[in-house]
Symmetry: C2
């Protein structure tokens, strides 16, 4: 667990696109962000209060989150002075950068001096068990995609928010760096050792109240040959009761694999459901979540209507249309 | 690569069952074993020449392989004197034990002093790439099982031997510790980080002569929920041209999962083949390999005949009947 609330460090991010992690925290866990910290020349602005480290600490901040990514995922020298000051004041620092905080001797020394902790969310911090595949109380929903990066995280986040607004018990379960930094906990599944992948997902989604839903963040795709094993571990470790098919209709080939076309939603359904039912015979495909960001408003509506008619499943873009119908579709 | 040939260290193994790795080397790579080394009280005997370290070195040995497993997979204190002497003489030491050689300071010091190398085959020593899923020259065969531990490694080893005896180009590709120690190289797939599993399998099975076959060692099972993601990575990373279904007919439940029955061979075929064809549209299921070790001779024959009739595929136990018909079945 990363102590909350956070001060969001934007560094010298040239624009808001470089601050994806910080945007995710602001949008999905606004209560986690007391303010933002920007270096001179920073072109990103979250619209949060500008704070010094001292002001953030006075406002209750417990962790500085590196909310910005740069080319190569390195810990920039220009950021270090701030991060060291924060650590010296006893504030934790959390990062999803490729280069680890723990590999920077000056940050390690500053953390030790300040009694603070470095959180590298790219690296598992838990010794996960081997999966046992047992039935457990509580319910689980997983989004599986025709490709990577088609909106699986967004879908789960939006469903969690909708469910909480209805007074339902719901928990987004992060399996990637952004999700972990946003919520403060989770499993960096892409970095877990093969034998423990499914066990890590079980650990992340333990027995719960019968009415509670885990919204498990999906990863990869059964049809993305680079990462299909990770998706498989989510399906068998997560033991979902409900699958949501996630799709980006303008994608012409699998992400990063120009020689692979996309599977149809029918093929995704017919592949994922039997695999999921092996672990949980009651599993159902309940809805389709379409990422229509590259379509105009009319096109987006027509696209969802066409898929809904074809698949016989509620079909929405949760970003445009809200996640209400996805939540309504849960068994 | 682990330098060959080996001296096989049996330690104080109570019986031959505890020396599975050494037996595998003797059986599958007899040319790799110059002799055996046994401590007082050792109850295992490979029938190889008994050698001191000096004799082994004089016979050309370059590596001492820990060919024995004990409870907990620890490096026993009683073994260390021998291993340290070997390292001091410049012989490498290789082990698949759970406890790593590199974590034993006295072994590390002895290796340094002798200019020798410690090989922990449980730990990847290569930075594997992300899988690209591209067509590559040469052909590949993968055994997929109804469960774990049903004879997939044995099947691949037996096919490699049969193919070489026919003058075919064939290479067993190890994906587990025993296979790596037997052949001297491979990928410890269960210890590879999730995002790189399929890439590690691609790395292991590179482009080759058009007539060359890789016999890829299978791992786990698509129906074993603890490890199904590893199997998936083998199917997409290995891009097999031929699948062989592996089965143990007396198994009443999935290994270690008493609450899971086994899938039928039909279900295994119908699940694995479409997944494999996504990466390699030309893939075929070509044969069934049955592990009949728990059946009498007549029962074994009847079992294979029944499956052959039902599945319409050549069906043999390669241990009892040889791997000839499996090789004949390759496209």
């Amino acid at each position: 667990m990363i102590p909350t609330p956070y001060l969001l460090f934007l560094g010298d991010a040239p624009d808001i696109l470089a601050a994806k992690v910080a945007v995710g925290i602001r949008d999905w866990r606004p209560g986690h962000a007391v303010g933002q910290f920007r270096l001179p020349g920073c072109g990103a602005d979250l619209g949060l209060p500008e704070m010094t480290l001292e002001e953030a600490r006075a406002a209750g901040a417990r962790t500085v989150v590196v909310g910005v990514a740069n080319r190569g995922g390195v810990v920039a020298e220009s950021w270090k002075a701030v991060l060291k000051d924060a650590l010296g004041m006893g504030l934790d620092v959390a990062s999803g950068l490729h280069e680890l905080l723990r590999d920077e001797p000056d940050l390690v020394a500053a953390a030790k001096a300040g009694g603070a902790t470095l959180h590298d969310v790219r690296v598992p911090s838990v010794k996960y068990p081997i999966a046992e595949g047992r039935e457990r109380a509580g319910r689980r929903c997983l989004a599986v995609g025709t490709d990577c990066s088609v909106g699986k995280m967004y879908t789960a986040m939006a469903m969690e928010r909708e469910m909480r607004s209805r007074g339902m018990q719901a928990t987004f379960r992060a399996t990637g760096q952004t999700g972990i930094l946003v919520t403060g906990s989770g499993v960096p599944l892409d970095a877990v050792v093969a034998d423990f992948m499914a066990g890590a997902v079980e650990w992340l989604t333990p027995a719960n109240d019968p009415g509670h839903w885990d919204l498990i963040e999906g990863q990869g795709s059964l049809f993305h040959v680079s990462y299909s094993g990770v998706t498989m571990a989510l399906i068998h470790g997560g033991r979902p009761d409900a699958l949501i098919l996630a799709h980006e209709p303008t994608r012409s080939h699998m992400r990063g694999l120009p020689h692979y076309g996309l599977p149809t939603l029918e093929r995704l359904r017919d592949t994922a459901l039997p695999l999921a039912r092996w672990a949980n015979p009651g599993c159902e495909v309940v809805a389709v979540s379409v990422n229509t960001q590259h379509l105009g408003e009319d096109e987006a509506v027509r696209c969802c209507e066409e898929i809904e008619g074809r698949m016989g499943l509620p079909t929405v873009d949760p970003y445009r249309h809200g996640a209400g119908r996805l939540v309504d579709a849960l068994p």
